[in-house]
């Protein structure tokens, strides 16, 4: 691992070029740009993509925003598709038909990763393909209009779990996909988001790309439309997600769990929730017990994580 220099990394040429049609302030875009910055200059890559906001907004015929070769296939099969590309690479390399070195990185939202693409992801990781699967987790099916997913946090107001007089939003807590991927015993799993000078995201991306075998990155990527906040607020939201331990930063390298950051003072979950319109109903009179239940869930998971990281 090289010494991290924010200036040097950000000055690398963009591999996701300007002119795509993603929203201003879209977290998915920040994830893609920064993961691709971790490719060493001169290395070629094939970028995969599940159907979703990212795909329809970055490869709208006849324009592509990708400097690298890119393949979109369907919603639920980004992992299987890239596993075919990676296998073709070995087949053609073996026959001397390819001289350059390629890396394989695929992006999916939480819908394409946690839910409809879960089987395809599990299969590709188990088979040991040398690829990175990046989930940009914005916690709902944003492309179709903010429907709940298994990554949606408890009590979030979505269009299929609307808060109302008889509903507190999504009844269930979110699936812990990073732990599930770690249970595949693959060489590298990490969870991160946009913090400070992006060092955590960069270092984890670089490790994921340059560790042989399958790697999984789970990146919390806020969506201003779905979470209902002003776009510049993303910095504070990410910071609060980490400081409240809602979204801990950790990695699992060769089976060893380690925390990447431990807040000095774990903040109450309200600090994260109150910034977002999707949790507004929790702050109405009588919502205290919901916030308490949310806090309990965060605490329970944080304790479990600390035990794994011991």
């Amino acid at each position: 691992m090289s010494q991290y220099s924010f200036k040097e990394i950000q000055e690398r040429p963009e591999r996701l070029s300007a002119g795509h049609r993603l929203c201003a302030g879209c977290g998915g875009t920040i994830a893609v740009r920064n993961v691709l910055k971790a490719l060493h200059p001169g290395d070629r890559a094939v970028v995969g993509n599940a159907t979703g906001c990212l795909e329809v907004s970055s490869f709208t015929y006849p324009y592509t925003a990708y400097e690298d070769s890119y393949i979109h296939n369907a919603f639920e099969n980004a992992a299987a598709t890239l596993s075919g590309v990676e296998t073709a690479y070995h087949a053609l390399k073996k026959k001397g038909k390819i001289k350059e070195n390629f890396k394989f990185i695929t992006f999916g939202g939480d819908g394409g990763t946690y839910d409809i693409g879960f089987q395809s992801l599990s299969g590709a990781m188990e088979r040991g393909h040398d690829m990175v699967y990046v989930c940009y987790d914005n916690g709902a099916y944003m492309n179709t209009g903010i429907q709940r997913s298994s990554a949606t946090p408890m009590y979030a107001d979505t269009t299929t779990t609307p808060a109302g007089s008889h509903s507190n939003g999504k009844p269930q807590a979110r699936k812990d996909l990073a732990a599930i991927m770690a249970a595949h015993h693959i060489p590298y799993v990490a969870q991160t988001t946009f913090i400070g000078n992006m060092m955590d995201l960069y270092q984890k991306s670089e490790k994921a790309i340059y560790t042989g075998g399958p790697a999984f990155l789970n990146i919390m990527a806020p969506c201003p439309r779905g979470w209902r906040y002003d776009a510049p607020e993303i910095v504070t939201i990410c910071k609060m997600a980490v400081e409240t331990c809602y979204w801990p930063l950790f990695e699992v390298a060769d089976g060893k769990w380690s925390l990447s950051y431990r807040p000095k003072n774990k903040l109450p979950i309200e600090e994260f929730l109150k910034l977002q319109g999707r949790f507004k109903h929790l702050f109405a009179p009588g919502g205290e017990h919901l916030i308490e239940a949310f806090q309990d869930e965060v605490d329970k998971r944080w304790e479990e994580l600390l035990q794994k990281c011991e």
């Binding site: 094939v46 995969g48 795909e55 329809v56 490869f59 709208t60 015929y61 006849p62 592509t64 990708y66 400097e67 690298d68 070769s69 890119y70 393949i71 979109h72 296939n73 369907a74 639920e76 099969n77 299987a80 598709t81 890239l82 596993s83 075919g84 590309v85 296998t87 073709a88 690479y89 070995h90 087949a91 053609l92 073996k94 026959k95 038909k97 390819i98 001289k99 350059e100 390629f102 089987q119 395809s120 599990s122 299969g123 590709a124 188990e126 088979r127």
Partner: protein, 394 residues
């Protein structure tokens, strides 16, 4: 030098796969095509092939990985049946519209329900509008020959479409009979190397595959794809002509068996044609002018050629091993009837559904059907329904 052997249809296709030695094969087992990935895996395990096999976790992933591999510039194949093909459905359209010449060995089997593992054409007939070329076989020899011709057709620059090489589950896939195999060197020389114009790993260029297209662009893409399917017609004939030179065996859109002077014709697809040929021979002994039109190529559909081949007949029975649930007969009958109408044919036509869930169709059934055709051409068509079943229990 041809090699005489005895093989099942699955063994024959696996042998063709070994001889061609494609770059990548993702596959998932399903009866009765399971033997294909098994044979390929053991060829690889014993150093007889250097194909990269991907043991995917589903047929959906098999076709997804095949699309990835083919887009990456690798010659790619897979195999499936029935529910496996149904699970690939969504991706079949993507493979075709991305113009990826993947070869898919289909071993035809009924779709559920009831759950049934036997022969029916409902699986590939359901996929008939997915943009894939479809070629069917009567026996192990034909499915072997068809598979060897597959990549030459699919990868032709005017075509660039995926191709299904279909054989009847169990009847062909597991039935062992005599076969003539080509020498490996002749097969490799015939098939040639795969050199796509553009692919993900190409030196000096990046490529993006699978765009989102708005209505200002999407229609032209479909039209170009349709043009490729039209182009496949001539390519199929040209490849067959070339194949004849190395094999001595003739192929086209169809086989006309004792049809040129026939009064009564049966039109069918697949292994049942062997049964019908026996009936034709028996009836010819009795002076009844029976003939068979065996459809080999279903996509692109050679409607005009089939109508022309039947032009002189007085009556024909069109047989579907598939219940289309249109309440109007099966897919072959529907498409051929339309072609006959276009050809201004006045022939009497009856539509038959047979052999569902592996139900036998016998020589006796075929002879009776020819007698029905003779009767209705004498006394007029008394059929009261749009189509009828043969072989149904009372």
């Amino acid at each position: 030098m041809a090699v005489k052997e005895r093989m099942s249809g699955n063994e024959a296709v696996a042998f063709a796969m070994k001889q061609i030695n494609p770059d990548v094969m993702p596959a998932f087992p399903i009866t009765p095509s399971t033997e294909l990935p098994q044979f390929v895996s053991s060829y690889i395990a014993n150093g007889e092939m250097d194909t990269e096999f991907i043991p995917v976790e589903s047929e959906h992933s098999a076709m997804s990985a095949a699309i990835g591999a083919e887009a990456a510039g690798a010659r790619t194949m897979t195999a499936t049946s029935s529910a496996g093909l149904a699970l690939m459905w969504e991706m079949l359209y993507v493979a075709a519209s991305n113009r990826l010449p993947i070869a898919l060995a289909v071993v035809n089997r009924a779709l559920s329900g009831p759950l049934n593992i036997n022969c029916e054409h409902s699986d590939s007939m359901g996929a008939r509008d997915s943009g894939w070329i479809q070629i069917y076989a009567e026996d192990n020899q034909e499915v072997y020959d068809n598979f060897i011709q597959a990549y030459r057709i699919a990868e032709h620059k005017d075509v660039m479409l995926p191709i299904m090489i279909c054989q009847d589950g169990f009847i062909i896939s597991h039935g062992v009979s005599n076969i003539e195999l080509l020498e490996e060197a002749d097969v490799r020389n015939f098939v040639g190397a795969y050199e796509p114009a553009h692919y993900l790993f190409k030196e000096g260029e990046s490529m993006a595959v699978g765009p989102y297209a708005v209505s200002a662009y999407g229609m032209e893409a479909k039209r170009a794809q349709a043009e490729a399917m039209k182009n496949a017609r001539q390519v199929i004939l040209d490849v067959a002509e070339e194949y004849k030179k190395i094999s001595g065996r003739e192929y086209g859109f169809y086989e006309a068996y004792r049809l040129s002077d026939a009064d009564y014709a049966i039109v069918a697809i697949g292994s049942v044609c062997g049964t019908i040929k026996d009936a034709v021979d028996a009836l010819r002994e009795k002076g009844i002018k029976a003939g068979l039109l065996k459809v080999r190529v279903f996509r692109p559909f050679p409607g005009k050629e089939l109508a022309d081949a039947l032009g002189h007949c007085r009556a024909a029975a069109v047989m579907d091993r598939c219940e289309g649930f249109s309440a109007n007969g099966g897919p072959l009958a529907a498409e051929l009837s339309a072609a006959l109408f276009q050809a201004k044919s006045r022939m009497e036509v009856v539509n038959i559904v047979y052999g569902l869930n592996g139900r036998d169709f016998t020589v006796d059934d075929a002879e009776k059907l020819y007698q029905d055709l003779a009767r209705l051409s004498e006394h007029g068509n008394q059929e009261t329904e749009a189509y009828r079943y043969i072989g149904l229990r009372d």
